[in-house]
Amino acid sequence: MSAGDQELARDLGFLEAYTIGLGTMIGAGIFVLPSIAANQAGPASMVSFFFGGMVSLLAALSLSELATGMPKAGGSYYYVNRALGPFFGSIVGWGMWAGLTFASAFYMIGFGQYFLSGLGPYIPFLAESELGITVAALVMAAMLTGVNYYGVKETGSLQNVIVLSLVGLILAFLALGALSGPTIGEFNPSGWPAVAATIGTVYVSFIGFEVIATSAEEIKNPSRNLPLAMIAAVVTPTLMYVGVMWVSTGTLSIGALDASNIPVADVAAEFLRGFASAIPFVSVSPGALGAAGSIAMIVGAVLATISSANASILSAARVNFAMGRDKILVEWLNEVHDRFRTPYRSITATGVITLVLIAVGAGIGTLAEVASFMYLVTYALVHVAVVVLRRAEPADYEPTFQIPSVLYPFVPILGALACLAVLFQMVVAFEPMVLLGEGVVGVEIALPFTISIVGIIGIGIIAAGVAWYYTYARDRAPSQSLVGDAIAPEPAAAADGTGQYRVVVPVANPETERDLLRMAAASAHAHEDDDAELIAVNVIEVPQQTSLSQDVAFEEERVQRQQELLSAARDIAAELDIGLRTRAIVGRDTGSVILDVIEAEDADHVFLGWKGSRSTREHVLGSTIDPVVGRASCDATLVKLGPEETPGEGDIMVLAGEGPHAPVAARRAAEFVTTAGEDATLTLLNVQQPEDGDEDQSPQERGEALIDDLAERAGIEYMQYDQRVVVAEDVESAILEAADDYDTICVGATRSGPVTQAVFGSVPEAVGEAVDRTVVMARGPEESTMSIREAIAHRLSVS
């Protein structure tokens, strides 16, 4: 689809992106976790929230770079799969999906707590009970699944109203709470290890900003709005959480907070009592004011938990979709409902698992920690993905936002380490864990450390992802991991400085592959370089908008075809006694992939085949040939293979015109002749118009002088060659007529800049099209475009 269409699909500005992030962030976390966090670490849990925010901020920076570089549905999963391959893709895909379902279950139980416990005192029949909470959570989760299944319309303005009123409510809570003068008792009663452990518990309140990344394709001006929205959506809640913990632990005792199911509402009720006497003119009883505050917070908590769970269910469906797109998951799950236009199967699956998790009664703290765990694993890999993509520089990855250069290796490295550190202390406690008691086998078998329940569940989910990869995904998902490219972005051979001669040969057609490689080998051999090598490239093009017929079978067929082509290339190279490497690439656009290979391999020459007819509308010679020939920074040769047995041998003729690239064509011809040996002759042909130029030189003499001059410029004057000068009024038809006498015609590009419509120039292209022989069009390095490309590459790596 065109860029114009893409713009139409973008309807989220900064505010919308920010509120989507905030709406998911301000969820059950801030309303439920104060009681758990206070119990674990006392007032010092403020520090836990603060560090949770820092870990998220680092992840937000890395995610912003990835999201602007690859604005695709699926968020973190997609980036990790792209950069690290389907093995890690399976882990993160399932991990995120599991994380989102655990988080949804957590939000829903938080909803249940506030809904029932909060309303219980006012509506007596809703007695406070575990069963009641679970039932309320189940009903609401089922309703949300239904709303998303049936595609009930939600509007952006409703979303904005909910989020802004939540923000207002929390700000009011903070302001009034601060005014009431909270008094913190002992700041850190449980010690710093407990504070560190609490980071893992509260991290679930920070996973929401991810939705901004998953909406990257819909954000206007993403290079600015996306990172801003993400950072703002992390910083705002972090400050709020720290503030809420301060007010909460300063207002109620830790024991009271821990005992409460609705800590924030209780805190509001408590500090508002003190304001009753301050209200002028009317007398308000402290109890009534407290109750009003409590109800306001309960309504806020209900809205917040619902909006978080809603966003999580939709995010989970996007992860499923992205996994299906990469063949890691069955596409069946991602069918869009005919009527409701929703991914109904995926939503149902997410909803059902969420319901099961609620019903199992895993405990709200465990649900939160498992969700945290899965997201910390994801973000650790996201940081790795940033580094891999920066080093591998794939063609289709051009992030419009980049982590500022002063922060670059620092942010992803620190971010990944921070995630791992939090994970480690969540999983491992340094107490011996008895696996088997003495009574069972006689000896006590124990680990020197304990693995927590959360660690066991989390590692189990990762193991399930790995198992999934080996049993399902490995055979289906084409590996496009960039790790290898990242480790060795430049081929190792280039490092020794010998300037090995490399010819990149894109191959696509098994019938012409052999001749193309043979001619490229001839060119490579002629360079006095034993290490000269060919690089055979085949690109599987996956269009931006993949269409209907692309089922799994077709995909496998293409991969197999690619393998066959490249293995044939290796056999041919062995016969020809030339070094050959193959590159099998899956890419969006063949032309730019080839250009990228040329640059990455530091190639000297690109050797392309051409079917011999110009393409119709937007391209001159072909959608792949045009950009490669137009922009390659090295020699470029385009070959139309003739009907004879061995193209590139026999009588070879060079059009010795005055074009800037005629010497390149002459060199190519000389290379073919040298390699063919006895079987080949070389003729340099020049066409002169009868009365043109100087009086004292006949057209014949003029032509011969030009030919000798060309041979000298091409550096082939030592070779044996025939001169042939044709005198004719119509140059082009004379060339076409003369061409019939030869087996192979070499012609240099006549055009020198990248601006004109033709790729090689009108005469070479006319010859290529009209002459039923092997035609070789050649040009030298494209100096001007090279420098622009270099400049851009340079700029990108610096900024």
Partner: protein, 140 residues
């Protein structure tokens, strides 16, 4: 004329109906599908997912109309209000009429998914042609 397509089954139904009235079709048929945006709230499905689905709808239309002498164009539209987006697009491309087949559906379904047909008929200032849903000849 502009022909809104709502889904894959609607693509089949609409082209079937269109084909049997093909004699009266003059000019170009522009098949459109509106990808409904929530305008700020998270969408139910990602844009890309729905774009793929839309291409499948257009493929159905294309294949079924192949046998007829009709100029066909396709376009994906984006908007928060489906009916409004169709009418606006119809004006932009100077369409003479909006042609579609109603999808039916119970009251309950209409309540949940919205009733685009009704909004189109009541909200359009261009002629709206409602083609009856032809029975399917062969099962799929």
């Amino acid at each position: 004329m502009i022909v809104p397509i709502a889904s894959k089954s609607d693509a089949r139904a609409t082209t079937r109906a269109l084909a049997s009235h093909v004699d009266s079709v003059a000019g170009t048929v522009v098949a459109v599908h509106v990808i409904e945006k929530a305008g700020g709230a998270p969408d139910k499905a990602s844009i890309e997912q729905r774009e793929r689905d839309t291409e499948e709808m257009f493929d159905i239309v294309r294949t079924q109309l192949e046998a007829y002498d009709v100029d066909l164009e396709t376009e994906i539209l984006y908007g928060t209000d489906v009916a409004e987006t169709i009418v606006e697009a119809a004006h932009e491309m100077d369409a003479s009429s909006i042609v579609f087949t109603p999808r039916g559906g119970s009251r309950w379904v209409r309540l949940l998914a919205g009733d685009v047909a009704l909004s189109l008929i009541s909200g359009s200032d261009l002629p709206v042609v409602v083609l009856p849903d032809e029975p399917e000849e062969d099962d799929e």
